[in-house]
């Protein structure tokens, strides 16, 4: 079995400007944040992003990396809830929004995974989703009549084909087998099935023998066919939660939202946290908590 270990920056080095990427997780939960930070360090731009959105999309917007976004929502999942950078990108008209029902995101990834051009879904009918998409979203009429002889016309959810998928799981091996530890798999396996290139970061890499012992088999949602590169990135979902590994860093998330309020405070945030490597980031986060403990702030 091949050793697929790779660095964050080498994985992101395979991205090209203008590509479509998918980011796993949900809201501010088990997001591939170490990969997102690596994208911030890179020169790529004009990305199209598919996501159950949270601060992953927000941070990419903060650096002007996003041209177009496919999403059902963008949420920090706890106060202040609305992501400041996504809001700014939207209110400035800086990104093309393909907003949709949450279920449509899953449906589009399933279509891509099954190599289908679309899958029918009821969600979206009658709402402004169709107006968000213009001609890019069509309907399809069932060839099968119902009991009264009428035919249902449904949303034809187009395949959300991804050039690259990035996901973060709790544990994996060097070959690309990986599992989640927590209550929800989210849609990470679908992202990988929908993508040409698939990169997974994990809290820890272990031997295959240990992996299958440590995780209930049903939670091994990625096998090595679904993965091109594996990165060991402890705390790689920070500041979002990562199931049994750690909770959301609420204090840091509030700091992120607060820092976005003025250009000066954001520049200070970038200088302090986002100007170096992933190791530098993790060290700066540790210092952030040590400093705030010293000054007696509430965690």
């Amino acid at each position: 079995m091949r050793d697929k270990r790779i660095t964050l920056d080498d994985a992101v080095g395979q991205l090209r400007s203008g590509m479509t990427i998918g980011l796993g997780g949900w809201g501010s939960r088990r997001k591939p944040m170490a990969f997102v930070r690596a994208i911030l360090r890179s020169d790529v731009k004009d990305l199209t992003v598919v996501t159950y959105g949270g601060p992953d999309l927000g941070l990419l917007c903060s650096a002007g990396k996003v041209k177009k976004a496919y999403y059902g929502f963008v949420s920090l999942d706890s106060a202040p809830f609305y992501d400041p950078w996504f809001s700014k990108a939207r209110t400035e008209g800086a990104i093309v929004a393909r907003e949709m029902d949450e279920g449509m995101v899953k449906c589009g990834l399933e279509a891509a995974a099954a190599r289908l051009p679309f899958l029918p879904i009821r969600a979206g009918l009658g709402s402004d989703v169709q107006n968000f998409w213009g001609d890019e979203l069509q309907t399809v009429t069932s060839p099968y009549p119902d009991a009264s002889g009428k035919h249902e016309t449904l949303i034809a959810m187009p395949a959300l084909n991804l050039d690259v998928a990035f996901v973060h799981l709790n544990i994996g091996d060097a070959h690309g087998n990986a599992g989640y530890q927590g209550v929800d798999p989210y849609f990470d396996d679908l992202y990988c099935l929908a993508a040409e290139k698939r990169f997974v970061s994990v809290e820890k890499i272990v031997e295959t023998e240990q992996l299958v012992k440590e995780v209930p088999l049903q939670q091994l949602i990625l096998n090595r066919m679904m993965v091109d590169g594996v990165v060991e990135a402890p705390n790689g979902a920070h500041f979002t939660l990562a199931g049994e590994s750690y909770g959301r860093d609420e204090k840091f998330q509030r700091h992120y939202a607060e820092a976005a309020k003025t250009p000066e405070s954001w520049q200070a945030f970038v200088d302090r946290f986002l100007s170096g490597s992933e190791d530098d980031y993790q060290a700066a986060v540790e210092k952030f908590h040590a400093d705030s403990e010293k000054t007696g702030e509430q965690a």
């Binding site: 400035e92 949709m100 449509m104 979206g124 709402s127």
Partner: protein, 252 residues
């Protein structure tokens, strides 16, 4: 002893939210706010013991604990399975609304033009899929003209006027009820429009009219929201909401 003499507005709201689920049977209740959570759990502890409720994350609760408290679980409902339930129709969601119009179109996405809003909120979330697939109700803690507006900026939750009679794909749309701090409403007015079912004690028809941008059907004839029973009050006060979170959503 539970006093029925000093029933708060919030307690009327809680039983009105519980009554949303009357007759629902063995389906998943998905209340998205504290008040509607108290309502769904009250329904389960009184008339609707078969309801499924979750912890708001991925676990189905076997117990009916206080809002925000942990309890024994009976199963697993991760996000992707929620979408399966949505499509199956065995669900009644109670969402919030930044805007809602007389046909029940709802907005929680953004204010302003679609591609360049003036204010961004969550996006449409699950509202399009919820409303087109199964029963949907709304809880609004502050009934005013800003929320109950002539036209929503973004149609997230689909209203009754969007139903295409030629397309049977709309057959499951069921925008069922709206509970607010002022009263209980549905869409039984002319052409599926907003109608008053009952006003909470102390609320006048004028107060509702003054706080709603459009005409409310049957407003003059609406009765008074029923009183909670002593048992319902005990459950609300001692079991489901001992910390009195309900008063944060509706002033006492």
């Amino acid at each position: 002893m539970t006093s029925t003499e000093t029933i708060t507005r919030a307690e009327y709201c809680a039983i009105a939210c519980a009554d949303i689920f009357a007759g629902a049977g063995e389906i998943m209740a998905s209340p998205m706010s504290t008040m509607s959570q108290i309502g769904a759990r009250l329904a389960r502890l009184t008339t609707e013991p078969d309801l499924l409720i979750t912890d708001g994350e991925a676990l189905i609760l076997a117990d009916t604990p206080a809002v925000g408290a942990k309890g024994a679980i009976e199963g697993w409902m991760p996000f992707r399975k929620v979408f399966d339930v949505v499509a199956s129709g065995r669900r009644h969601v109670v969402m919030g609304a930044n805007q809602i119009d007389r046909y029940g179109n709802q907005n929680l996405s953004a204010f302003g033009p679609l591609q360049q809003p003036t204010r961004q909120m969550f996006g449409v979330r699950g509202a399009p899929g919820n409303t087109i697939n199964h029963a949907t109700s709304y809880w609004v803690g502050k009934h005013n003209k800003r929320v109950f507006c002539d036209k929503v900026d973004v149609v997230a939750g689909v209203g009754w006027d969007k139903v295409d009679p030629e397309n049977p794909a709309y057959k499951y749309l069921n925008v069922y009820r709206v509970v607010t701090n002022l009263g209980v409403f549905d869409f039984g007015g002319p052409g599926h429009t907003f109608r008053a079912l009952s006003l909470h004690p102390g609320v006048t028809a004028d107060e509702v009219a003054d706080n709603t941008s459009f005409e409310v059907a049957d407003l003059a004839d609406a009765g008074v929201t029923r009183e909670p029973t002593a048992e319902e009050l005990r459950i609300i006060r001692e079991v489901l909401d001992p910390r009195n979170l309900r008063d944060r959503e509706v002033a006492a």
